[in-house]
Symmetry: C2
Amino acid sequence: MSMRTNYCGLTTEALLGQTVSLCGWVHRRRDHGGVIFIDLRDREGLVQVVCDPDRAEVFKNAETVRNEFCLRITGIVRNRPDGTINANLKSGKVEVLCHELEILNASVTPPFQLDDENLSETTRLTHRVLDLRRPQMQNNLRLRYKVSMEVRKFLDANGFIDIETPMLTKSTPEGARDYLVPSRVNAGNFFALPQSPQLFKQLLMVANFDRYYQITKCFRDEDLRADRQPEFTQIDCETSFMSEQEIRDMFEGMIRGVFKNTLNIDLPNPFPVMDFAEAMGLYGSDKPDMRVKLKFTDLTDVMKDVDFKVFSNAANMVNGRVVGMLVPGGGSMPRSEIDAYDQFVRIYGAKGLAYIKVNDKAAGRDGLQAPIVKNLHDAALAEIIARTGANDGDLIFFGADKAKIVNDAIGALRVKIGHSEFGKANGLFEDVWKPLWVIDFPMFEHDEENDRWTATHHPFTAPKDGHEDLMETDPGKCIAKAYDMVLNGWELGGGSVRIHRADVQSKVFRALKINDEEAQLKFGFLLDALQYGAPPHGGLAFGLDRIVTMMTGAESIRDVIAFPKTQRAQCLLTQAPSEVDEKQLKELHIRLRAAEPKVV
Amino acid sequence: MSMRTNYCGLTTEALLGQTVSLCGWVHRRRDHGGVIFIDLRDREGLVQVVCDPDRAEVFKNAETVRNEFCLRITGIVRNRPDGTINANLKSGKVEVLCHELEILNASVTPPFQLDDENLSETTRLTHRVLDLRRPQMQNNLRLRYKVSMEVRKFLDANGFIDIETPMLTKSTPEGARDYLVPSRVNAGNFFALPQSPQLFKQLLMVANFDRYYQITKCFRDEDLRADRQPEFTQIDCETSFMSEQEIRDMFEGMIRGVFKNTLNIDLPNPFPVMDFAEAMGLYGSDKPDMRVKLKFTDLTDVMKDVDFKVFSNAANMVNGRVVGMLVPGGGSMPRSEIDAYDQFVRIYGAKGLAYIKVNDKAAGRDGLQAPIVKNLHDAALAEIIARTGANDGDLIFFGADKAKIVNDAIGALRVKIGHSEFGKANGLFEDVWKPLWVIDFPMFEHDEENDRWTATHHPFTAPKDGHEDLMETDPGKCIAKAYDMVLNGWELGGGSVRIHRADVQSKVFRALKINDEEAQLKFGFLLDALQYGAPPHGGLAFGLDRIVTMMTGAESIRDVIAFPKTQRAQCLLTQAPSEVDEKQLKELHIRLRAAEPKVV
């Protein structure tokens, strides 16, 4: 005989009159009119169990149960009395009259109430097992599962096969952020945990697997920001013989299917596509939050000869930029809010936040209100109004500095205003899902500090057709076949068409000033593989943690991971990482550096 | 326009007359009667491409291609001429008359022919990318994918959800076999890679996830035997509120479904069930190969008073055992074969291999042929014949020693004879799939060296109902709710019902002489969780690598893993593990022990 016949949360009127056995936890016990009511909880939800005093043994047992006791009950499903129906529960029209009650396991008093909304994260992570019993965490992890299963079904239907790549692999020579694993058998040697399966998936394409995917852990040993974990999960995909457009269409379809089949959300079809230059130009970001109805107006050329030095210096600087950002209706923004934004942009390196209120544009200079107006000549003011399309009652914020600072600061300001009460009240924010492809990334970024070019994406990304020679003649102009999928200001995933020809790969290495020996040492096995008829191929990787965080509206990716690490990379539940025995270190041929005598 | 419209291997008569674009590799090029024939290969197989000299450009290109060049061709599907149909290919009735031929990528000459059957494993693993192009490896990894996807579909349909558990976790205090990962952020501390998600999956049951699974990497740093890898993949499952029988039924159904839906093999329904004691008694193994029609006959009690010291000593020894193994028709076995078996059992610690040939059992002692006969009294000989059921023309092998040696040696001999030419010719081997549940394992094994009890499975395994007190009074008699699924002599998976009550867990720790402090240190977070109404739960784990190895008939699990390690735990493709920079070690607060000055 089965321990249970039904789930608590799925006990509905369809079972009326039937005897059921249910297992679950005491969510709440109420004694009312001499009868004991137990809300019994399992993963599907709650059901009300009624223990009458005329069943003496049941009642006696019921009197001893406390919250979080684990029970098995058997009873008959019946209608709840009129007026006691709970419309919030699937089981809310019925209750179970208990005939047998077995205490499967008692519980000590939990350190907190499961429905307490104000738990600190430390408490939650320390008592993670109880925290995971809370409906929100149950829902988050079940949605995570549904997302990954939808991904698998989609990819399976499209001929992708899941192939496992190694977890114990090779450290890359610069090795920053690699987690290392000392080898016992091979003294003095180390494995590295993969930062991504990038090279292996390319090898699988060369090996004729044609369409690969994997939902796999990746590792990065970096200081942990709010939305990072030392181990994170990627949906990693690669395909041969498909163009950039075909790849994007394929994976756009995947994400659309996931949203539809899990949350019944219809994402736009097709997703809008924007090139990198436009994204940076209009939003100062390669992952713009398109829900926000604000954009940049470039004014660099206009400001070269104004008296206001902040603007003219930036406009004449190498890599300088001056932008305006029109805030429709912003004229009513209180001074205190403007001051707060002034402080806010300084976080991103801006030295302040200039603005102009447009009171009466027909009045020319006199209709514009701001300290900077007097230092801008008429032509500049007219151009500002014309280009931004400002109307009376609007406000224009300005950024003027190195382009990176302007983009970061005014880009962040754009999002902040959009999400503010002001933004929402003034129609500057549209609360919908706004996906976007950002494409045509530059192949290379200039590393000013070391005066050299680095790969924007990674050195295996293919240049656009016809851009191969630019790698040598004008690297900054060379565009890559790289693409990111962005949703509401978050990068969901990104990828590229890869280089499949050894001669093109050599050009990239030359542009990056990687000589043959270094290339061989770092990527020898990939370069070797490219020689044997490597096929045209490309792919991308999605961050599963982040996708699910967005979909659940969770505050942190830690809320969509069963056993996450803290921002100090610690597990509060198991106390990992921890000290280990000297014997273990000895077997691994290492010792702690702390034991090193200090030279004074 | 798509780079390709169809797969080479799926180009069949259904496409006759159509123009197709195919991408793939030159498997073979033949010039015949002024026409060039290219067998083009993709992951679905081969198709014949015909390049006529009257299409000059195509022909010119075709002349330059060599094996493993990567091509894109466009052409018209037409019937092959009569007499040239290849019944071994899906595409064997058709060929593609090539109109366009683009060389997507050239190939240098491969270091070996892909269809060479005699490659060394070193060659194969060094050039793994080419090795993976071989049909056998393509099939192995695709079957592996199908198996894992069938598992997911089955578990999904049964309400199991995939939940990821940490890869960076805590080292267990004894820590043998743990791979360690030094923490950069937490100096002097180490993560361990999981040997299994055992404790986490139990925590998930306490956390009300009810039915969990994961197909996940596990790690064990041990000397590598033929069928082990440092990282291996487990199908890890756990469920609450199910009995042992229900759990076994569930997962038996899963494996039956996997075999049916991938290889169209019908495994028996239900699987036979045998308890541990019977398995050891009859086959000397807890994973008997049931294809072999040989079994042990226990003779320990019969041999206590015989003159033959090898038998009587073993029969009177603590933990001694004497068995006979009847080999029907074995009387015809040549002396050389018997001698070879005598050598074989010595590998397992046996000191020799006694036997009796039954020439004429009606003749009593005189009808039995063997040196040992003269040292066995009449009653013993009669009992040997009676118990084994020997007939004229049969042979009986004997094992007499400590039980462990007898079981290992005669158990291995049983399998060896069964699989031998002799065994197959004499009906001692049935070439079918023979699954089996082995259940009722002992809770504890006695560690003679340290005179203490150790857990046979792990210390969280529940004792059989009613056996709780035996843990203290007679641990050797205490039976566990543990079970292994065995197929053709291999353990596919195993598991148990777990302890969900803290008081029972304490009894186990007492039996294992683990004191409270030690228990808290080792398993504190599990013990803590058990206090909060832990539900009855249990589960099991299957070895995916091994299942797929069996299903493919591969010689090694390395043939079902894309990028395996050698038996020296090295990756010949990437050269992992490798040396790392001093800078990296410094960041991780460790240094190499080799650098330690030796004290002379």
